[in-house]
């Protein structure tokens, strides 16, 4: 098996990634704790969960903007440029590979190389998460932090605060699902820990 090591993950990406992962994890745990809060069985005491959630959310937002800045400056952002031509077909091919081909030892339809850091499904998912869900959750989060300033009392006859909260927790839930699948997909490498290693040393082990 020919193996090629590509230095895909510069220090800033690795630092951003690990910080982002930890912050996301804290946000999910504190979020779930608030969502299913129960005075008798608190996962985290409510007021602590709220404070922690708020502080970590601010850190995550700062980290997000550093990520945007880093991607623009370093040129890493080019890997997120999606090719809309044939996108649906490419996504289907990749989904079929993950649900069928991968078990039959088929070659990956979009192998990773220097020019292609992400397969189309990865690219599409990361784009949806990073350019749609994260901005939505940051904006609704800031609004919920300062509801008296940002949230009008009613929107289309409903409580605007309630609607903002629903959008926030829905986006949070979708990001949580993404996290579960994202972590699992990291185990699909040469070995189950190969990808985790590359998060530390920065080298992606491409294989055919």
């Amino acid at each position: 098996m020919a193996e090629e090591k590509i230095y895909f993950y510069p220090v800033f990406i690795r630092l951003w990634h690990v910080i982002n992962a930890l912050l996301c994890l804290i946000l999910i745990i504190t979020g779930v704790s608030m969502q299913f809060s129960n005075p008798k069985y608190p996962l985290i005491r409510f007021n602590i969960a709220v404070s922690l959630h708020n502080i970590v959310a601010i850190l995550l937002s700062v980290n997000y903007f550093l990520f945007l800045f880093g991607n623009i400056v370093s040129g890493n952002g080019r890997h997120y440029k999606i090719k809309f031509k044939g996108l649906f077909k490419n996504l289907t091919v990749q989904v079929i590979y993950y649900t069928k081909g991968i078990f039959q030892k088929e070659k990956a339809p979009f192998p990773i190389n220097k020019e292609r850091k992400f397969n189309p499904l990865q690219q599409f998912t990361y784009l949806v998460v990073m350019s749609l869900l994260v901005p939505v959750i940051i904006i609704t989060g800031i609004a919920l932090m300062y509801p008296d300033i940002f949230i009008p009392l009613k929107f289309l006859g409903f409580s605007a605060l309630h609607l903002t909260d629903l959008v926030h927790i829905t986006a949070g839930f979708m990001i949580s699902l993404f996290m579960m699948i994202h972590v699992y997909f990291c185990t699909i490498g040469t070995t189950p820990i190969t990808t985790f290693k590359s998060m530390i040393n920065g080298f992606h082990e491409a294989h055919d």
Binding site: M34, Q35, F36, S37, N38, P39, P42, R45, F46, N47, V50, Y98, I102, F103, Q104, L144, P147, D148, L153, F158, S159, L161, H162, D165, L166, I169, F173, S176, L177, M180, I181, Y184, T187, I188
Partner: protein, 341 residues
Amino acid sequence: MRNFFQSKIILAALLLVVFSLGCLNLGTASNTTKVDTLVKTEQISANNTFSKHKNSSENEKCFQCHGQSKYTYINDGTKKVVTKKMYVELILKRSVFYESNHREFKCIDCHSEEYQTFPHAGTLRMEAKPNCLDCHGGDEKYAKFHFENIDKEFQASVHSEKHGSDFTCWMCHNAHTYLITARTSDNIKLTISYDNAICLNCHSDINEYQLLTDKEIPNLIKKHDWLPNQKLHFQSVRCIECHTKKINDSILVGHKILPKKQAVKRCEECHSTNSVLLASLYRYKIKEIRSSQGFFKGVIANDSSVIGANRNFFLNVISVIIAVFVLIGIFIHTLFRIFKK
């Protein structure tokens, strides 16, 4: 001679008139002033907005003076028109009374009939105010309100314990103005601001507060510094949600006002599945919405805001189901990867 007799008869008649008037005056008040209301700054015509209330014309006799800030009468001694200021405590706006729960009552249904005599006898000031149970206690018509249970809770409240019988129902529920909102208004914000105004009537007004104590009035904003989004909390919940304990579930609003140290301070008491708000503030409204708009809208689209998203029962169930399916999918995928090697 004839003229002499004529003048004597006229003089006697005059004396008789003066004597008769004197006797009449003795029958009214200790002084010689006969009072007669002359000027009405707020004349109420038969077609006014209040005339739909069955006792409005009868009550108007009282409102002519008590509905405004001044009243006018003729001092019989000086024959002059006198304008006096009405004590603020004795003024009742028609618009407020005719919006209140007791709007269809006659003033003398509760007040002594002797008030129909003017000026009112001084002893009437000592007349005891009726309390709520005097009318509402033991009456089938009001059984659903459980006034007896309300009274039990009220007797156990910090207000009763500290001030005894000096603290009456009237302190919060002025029978002239009180309007029940929790069971009648669709607007929960209105209920919140109305009910909070009852507390603030004393707790933000030094004059009212010091009627029962010599203590300085605490600064409520500072006392609630610990509360995140304080302004929003004040707009979205009633003081009583945290400062009362409901002993008996038969009543809608707890009347056992707690000492400040026992007030709810844990966020989860409201922000959780069994939010205390569900037992009080939202209880009636949720029931109403469910019966009028169906269970789904009652749960999903209510106005309850962020009091613990578990309130959105269906969304929570759906989210748990989706998460479980994702985990099952991952598990199956892992198994296939292991066994298809």
